[in-house]
Structure formats: C-alpha cells, structure tokens
Symmetry: none
Subunit: 208 residues, 4 copies
C-alpha cells in the first residue's frame, strides 16, 4: 500500500517499515495543523524524522501520500445493526459527518479529488483506496435490510452493483456537499430529514 514501485530485489538494505508508519502519521498531523495547501513534503519528512529522499522513494508526490494517509481514516466507519434500515442509514450518515469534521479529512478529501481531475492514476488510487473500500457499508446495509424484508432482493448481479454505486454516491455525496460545499452542520435533525427523503422520496411523506 504505502510504497510506489517496490524494487522487489532481495539484495541491499530493506526499506524501513517504521518509516512508512511515521510518514503517514506525520502527514496526518501536518494536515491537521497546516491544511492541504500549506503542507509541504519537506515539513512531513522533518516531522517523521525521515529524509526527503526516503519519502520520495515511496510516494511520487503530495497527492499520493495524502490519499494513503487519509484512506485509512475511512476504515473506521462501521455499520452496527440498529434494528431497522432507517436507523442504520442515519447512523452511517452521522458517522460519516463526524469523520468530515476531522480537519485532516476535510482538507485532504476535496483536495485530492480536485487534483485527480487531471491525473488518472490518482483517480484510480482514490477509487481503490477510498471509494471501493467503503462500498462495503452499502453492501452490508442492503443485505441486512433484505434479510429483514425491508428491501427486495436483486435478481440481477449487474443491477445490484449499479444500485450499490448509486446509493453510495447519494449518501456520501449528499453528506459531503452539505458539510463542505454548503458548509452547514450535519446534525441529528438534518440526518433524520435526509434519511426520510432517502427512504420515501420526494413524493413520499411530507418531503422534509
């Protein structure tokens, strides 16, 4: 995960595993203190107690480094069984909002996405390190709801995948937009409104 292009040769001094961890931790610290745009490679290497060359030997640049540093934050998201689909959705929305309140996640996520618009390799990295990994939450939530009888089973595999993607984009996109673009708080009330909308649609009940 951490490195760039492993030389895989078995001769020579092996790369320090401790350095990887120190660098990623230093990167997160620097993101908290400085934010994306003022984070510098030199500063990260200094914080990690590591030479700049060591850093560049493993990551091609700031973008790749930050994606890896931030990706694992998303692994903390969980989906405990709250008994019904509404509660599960509301819970994951609030968890995600809490994550987006962390300064390192706020500043880094949008920045790497912005950079990725011009860099296909970075785009792939984001997808594999963040997006695809968190789709597990949607998959799990759907299976659970289907087991409860709250949602019908998908007969077709391809349709199931497209639905997973759609739900993921709706939930993640809406929360990110609320939190970072509209800059409004994601609180319990809003989470309930959003969950209701997601459950019943615009025409469903009152609409709010």
């Amino acid at each position: 995960m951490p490195n760039e292009s492993t030389p895989s040769g078995r001769t020579g001094r092996p790369r320090s595993a401790a350095a990887d961890a120190a660098i990623l931790a230093a990167t997160r610290d620097a993101l908290v203190e400085l934010g994306w745009s003022k984070l510098t490679m030199g500063d990260v290497s200094a914080r990690a107690g590591v030479a700049k060359t060591t850093l560049y030997r493993r990551w091609a640049g700031k973008n790749e480094l930050v994606v890896d540093a931030v990706a694992e934050l998303f692994d903390s998201l969980e989906l405990p069984d709250r008994g019904c689909l509404e509660a599960d959705v509301e819970n994951v929305v609030l968890q995600f909002a809490a994550l987006l309140r962390r300064p390192e996640a706020r500043t880094a996520l949008m920045a790497v996405v912005a950079e990725s618009t011009r860099d296909p390799a970075l785009r792939d990295r984001i997808r594999s390190a963040i997006v695809d990994r968190q789709k597990r939450l949607v998959v799990l939530g759907r299976e659970r709801a289907q087991a409860r009888g709250e949602l019908p089973r998908e007969p077709d595999e391809a349709v199931a995948e497209r639905t997973t993607d759609l739900i993921f984009d709706v939930i993640a996109g809406t929360v990110v937009h609320r939190a970072l673009v509209s800059s409004e708080p994601v609180d319990d009330l809003w989470a309930a409104s959003f969950t209701a909308l997601l459950m019943h649609g615009l025409r469903g009940s009152a609409g709010a």
Copy 2:
C-alpha cells in the same frame, strides 16, 4: 464582484474595466490548460496582458480569483419546463453533469472547496457566488411541481427553506460525487435511476 476592496477614491486614473474581463477569461483558459494546481498568478497576468500588480489590486489571491472566474459558469444552468417533476429533475441532473465535464469547472470546484475548509472568507464567497445562486433552480422546480400538484405546499417558511437546502445538497452532491469522486459517467441511464430513487425512495419501487 471582481474587486477586493474598492478604493472608492474618486481621484486618479480609474481602473480598467477591460482588465477584469481579460483576467477572468485568462483564468478560465489557464484552468483548462493547466488545471488548478499548475495555474499561477504570473501566468494568468501574462495571458491577460496585464501586470501582476493589477491582478493583485483586484483579487487577494488565487482562490478568490478562481471562485469568481468559475462562478458565472454555473449561471448557465436553466430549468425549462419539461412538463413533470421527473423530467425537470432529470434535465437539471444532466445539465449539471455537462457542466462538470468542462475541465475548468471540474478542477476548480473541488479545489476551492478544499481551500475553503481552512478559510471562512472563502467559504462565504463560495456560498454566495455559487451555492446560494443555484438554489434558485430547486426553488423554481418546487414551485412548478406544487403548481402542478406533484408536491404539497409547505405551510412553514423555515421548513420550506430547509427542504430546499436538502434537495439541493442531494442533487448537487450526488452528481458531483458520481462524476468526480467515483469517476463514473453521468449518462441518461444513471440520471433516470437517480431520479427514480429521488422520487420514490429506497422503498419506493424496485429500488433502482
């Protein structure tokens, strides 16, 4: 809009109005060619045939400049009456997706949002120049649907505003996430699926 702190003095040579337009156009061109991160103030000033000092006299920095340069792109979004709510939603989704296919919008939008996580003034500028202006589309769509009887009228003004915000975040956020984070195409099929979900909710019909 363009300037930073109006000098308001009535004496001396007045600022060139042509310069503003040239600078914003140059900024958009540079965004297309270079993307956000490689765009430089010096380059913009050179493209615009303007001295760097002239540029800094009007905008405080790259962030402010790019917000202004990009904001007006969003004004091109329209909401022609397609006869029913589904069609109106689907249309605005596809329009927004087309906008996000423009390189200057792709690269700039996420970048300024990323910067805004650490800069309240920039956050406000984004909100007033982009977010709030485009909420008109939701307001208009809702009013039209209510006139058609597709949606109930909101008795309470505050609730109406919260609903507007929510719908805006859902639509804009989901499309942005699909296009820029998941990096998947927003085509007619997807737009239809998303619209269906938005109309009827997860429990509504088939769920896709």
Copy 3:
C-alpha cells in the same frame, strides 16, 4: 563587471547596485571562513541579505561569482619604484606572496583555475579579470628598468609582448607553486634567491 547578461531594458525596477557589493563582500567572507569547496550559493545569499534568485540573476554560478569576488584583490598589487630592478622584483614577489597568504585568495585562485580547465568561458573570464590586468606590473617594471638602462629596449612590439607574458608566468607561476603546491613559505630569503636566479640565470653567479 558583476552581472551576467544585462537585460538592458529600461523599464521595470532597476537592479540594486548595493546588492552587487554586498554579494561580493559576502563571497569573500565566506571564502575566508569556509573555503572554496564548502562555500555555497545559499550561504552567500544569506550573508549578503539577498535572495538566491537575485544572486543567480547576476552570476551563472559559483565559479563566475568567485572569480569576480577575488579579481579585485589583485588590484591591490603595486609597483613602487625601489631604485633598481632587483628591488622592484623582490618587492612584487613579496607582495604577491602576501596576497597568497590571504585565505580567500589561496582557496579561490586554484579552484577557479581548476574549473576553468573544462570551461572556456571561465578561462576567458579569469584571463581578462585577473591575468591581463596584472601584466601591467611587468610592463611598468620593464619600462622603468629600461629607463634606468638595466634592460635593453625591445625593438619589436610582438617580441616585447611575448617577453612580458613570459616574465609574468615565471614570477607569478613560481610564487604560486612555492606557496600553494610545494607549501613552503615565501620569505625574504627565498625572495632574494629567486630574484637572483631571475636576474642572472642558472649559470649566472653562484646559482642560488
């Protein structure tokens, strides 16, 4: 003299004259403290209170900078009339030796000559800034000796120039070799021996 390729454009802010002087002085200080090989451009710019870019705008690199910084040291050499040729020669030998005792001259002179073996432009710069300027001492000494009747007049101009060059190489080369290669002191005794040899040749008198 100081700069590299004067832009000669008359618009824009003119280059600071004070910066040139500060840079050359800083260079000499750094040579004294650090010697040629540990002198860095960054250190010079810091000592001079000047940005690195300012330094590179005027000199192409360390070599060119040091030649200019050191060249003017050689202008301190003088040739007061001591009454006879022997005394004049002995005096200039001792002056040159004193100059080569200065750390900045010692370390810089040989270093730039070493670099010049691979850089024709630097070779020319050394010749014009140092070598040719100091030949004046030989020319003056010869004229004075000829006036005194100690040396015959040269009928041919070309021969005169070749003789000037030869004498210059003998005196300067011998002193430099004694001081820097053989690493032996150039004291009064040695200066007298050398002068005697130069006057009368190996076969002349005792030979020492």
Copy 4:
C-alpha cells in the same frame, strides 16, 4: 599507497588487489570524461564495478582518491641525457607541458591543490606523492650538469636542497601557470625562450 588505514588483521577475507587498480583506472577515466567537479564517488564505484563501501574502505574521500589516481601519471616524466643543460631543461619543460595537456592531469592537479589550502593532510599527501617524487628530475639534471662542468658544485648540502626546491618551483610553476592560468600553449618556441631566460637571466642576453 591506496589504502587508508590498513586493518592488519590477519584473519578474514583479504582486500581485493584488483579492486584498487580498477578504482584508480575508473577515477582517471571519470576525470577525463567529467572533470574534477562533476566526478562523484558513486560514479567511480559504478565504473569500477565496485560497491561504494569498498571505495570508502580504502580512501577517505574524493581528494585522496584523486591525488593517488593522478600521482602516478607524473612518474612517466624522464630526463634522458640530451648532452647539455639547455637541452635537458627544454626537454623536461616540453614533457611536463605534454602531461598538462592530458585532461585528467589538468583538471585534477589544480583542484587538489585548491582543496589542500584548507587541509594539511592533503597538502602532505600532495607533497609526498607528487612534489617530492619529481624533484628527482632537478637533482638528476643538476648532477649531470655539474659532471659536465656546466654548473658549479654546491659545497653545502642545505644550500643544495634549497636550490633544488627553487629550480623545481620555477620550472614547474612557470609551465603550470603558462598552461593553466594564462591558458597559452607551451610550444617549442616558448620552451626555448623560457630555457634561455632560465639560463641567463633577465640581464643575460636579449631577454627573450
């Protein structure tokens, strides 16, 4: 000669003798191709097919390595008996000039001398490896000339040594200065002029 501090332990794998030769040859090659300042230890080790550690085990640094690599070039100088002192001097001048036309000698000699101005150990190494070894030429030439009756015998040993040193500095210094500082060719004509001056002194004959 090659190594730094002999380990003298009698057990363990002995140092490869072939490596020494390969390293010195690689150093000379690199000097020819790159010159002193662009020669790097890593490059030398790669050319020699040797690890950097092997190189550093034997030489303390670039300076020491280059002195050793270049010193033996000077051993090629010889003093065949040309029948008279003038001819012998002229011959050695031309030989030395030919040596200074070799790029590895040109670039290395001045560079190590420059470095030696700040490094007494290097100064000693140059003196013992180069200077003192070549004084044999002066000693031999003097003895031969004395045997021919061209020069008087020195009664005093100390005076003899001082004279040897002086003549060495005059010849070596002048040729080096002509070739490397003044950057003028050392051809037959110049060699004859210099020899004449050395024989008869400024007052001797015509002076050129």
